[in-house]
Amino acid sequence: MSEILISIKGLKTNFYTYAGVVKALDGIDLDIYKHETLGLVGETGCGKSVTALSIIRLIQWPPGRIDEGSITMNGRDLMKLSNHDMREIRGNKISMIFQEPMTSFNPVFTIGDQIAEVLILHQKMDKKTAYRRAIEMLAFTGIPAPERVAKSYPHELSGGMLQRGMISMALACKPALLIADEPTTALDVTIEAQILELMRDLKTKTGSSILMITHDLGVIAEVCDRVGVMYAGNIIELSSVKDIFDHPLHPYTIGLIGSIPKLNQERGMQLETIPGSVPNLISPPSGCRFHPRCKKAMDICKDKKPKLTEIEKGHMVACHLYTGKVE
């Protein structure tokens, strides 16, 4: 938990649309350590997926573009790599699993062929060895009959099975970082539990770091070591999972955790909510992007954007409520 694997500094990704420039990421600073599971949580449209896609440079231009910032992995700045070098990293050093396993496989090839494809591409294996390795990978993710599954087409398998297949594919080259973009959103809860269990298990076996993107705090609590809370293109709080749930600092995080329905709540009680809605990122609020919805907003919040500052050991927050005291 000490060595930094990926270090993101001042990452700004913008989308140039007809309506205007969508400032999707507004200067993200994030370190991902080796062998850790880092969660990113936030509402729809807060920039979780954009962060993930920016790391492997898959933001489509047009309309999206990474305008500023650096992403360093083992001392190499990924932003400065050629497209060719970046392709060597994708799937090999950093791989990604997507939200919908059902559509993430090419329908005209078998699962085995598609997993073998990664190995042929990156490890220069011949077709037969790669296919055999693909079956091994499927077995590795706990698929009961890997030979049969390898020979199946995507439409013949269930979502949970396909997501296991997707994970096999992502882990085939033993990547240093696995980005999981809402890997369980499209699955039902029992399968979700199995997949999360599997990911936790595989992380200890392979030693990869995982960047887990989700909007489900339950998933975070289940698998993550540390968690970053995102709001409107900023990371507003970053700490260990325990600290976030025990004593969240940022008013948004407090609201977020307060809005989880509790089993011991009385019937008929209103669920806590955060008033207002997510700001339009074409013209985001000045200063702290959360201030129009914040109960504890002060004058300074309108003018100055708070920096992500370490308040306690390993607990960082971007809010003037706390930074004021430190200064």
Binding site: S104, N106, V108
Partner: protein
Amino acid sequence: MIIMATATNVTVTEQKRKGAIGRWMEYNESRIKEFRYSVRLFLKSPMTVIGLIIVLIFVLVAIFAPYLAPYGGMERNWYQVLKPPSDQHYFGTDDMGGDVYSRIIWGSQISLYIGIGIVMSAIIVGAIVGSVSGYFGGIIDELMMRVTDIFLAFPALILAMVVCAALGRSIENVMIALAITWWPAYARIIRGQALAIREQKYIEAARAIGGSSPHIILRHLLPNSVSPIIIQASMDFGNVILTAAALSFIGYGAQPGAAEWGRMVSDGSQFMMSSPWIVTFTGLAILIVCLGFNLLGDGLRDIIDPKMRR
């Protein structure tokens, strides 16, 4: 790790027990299953089967022409000019004593050659233009599609006539002329497919595993747009043969006297009143082959379209 080891052991022993064919069957089990299902669907539609039979007969006749034709394609018998059908000459003879039956058989070779040549070159050009244009989009798409539009704007037959007139009279030049007029249709179809497919999640996934653009186009984009190409090609085959015959008929293409269907109808048309058998049988040959390809194409569309299945 233990699971991995046992899994490989099982595969190895299983593979040792079976022969090469068994292994192939094993490896392609799901493909074979799909194929069987397609065959069953196919046999359910009688029109498609008729189309397939016509096409198969046509191809076999073309391949085995030397064994099937009683006379040579250019063979002349000046004592047997414009004779009606008899047991010597099943379809009669033409104005130069050529046996119409044999000439139709020899002519099928040329038609098949023309058909394959034009459709294949149209598919290749169309696939390159269409997939690149659809996949990259933006300015590349705009440029390539406007060029395609220019080609589409010309009436196909007129453009082909111009090309033929410029290049001179030969079968190869007819093929070049028709290939030039034929590819835009394929480019359009494949572009349309590419536009839909490039938004699919698996294309993004392919990028995420580090696939390059040519790799993605060849391995993910084109295999997924194969079905409309097959349908279009099988429907087109008849059209191509018909248009090539039409070009020959109006005097481009095959030399006078050559055993080419369009040419034969053209040559025979002078004697339509006195010796109708020349035009009739040759025309019927063109009609039946075109019909066969159309029926087959129609049926294939129904079978390949996944929405019609299951």
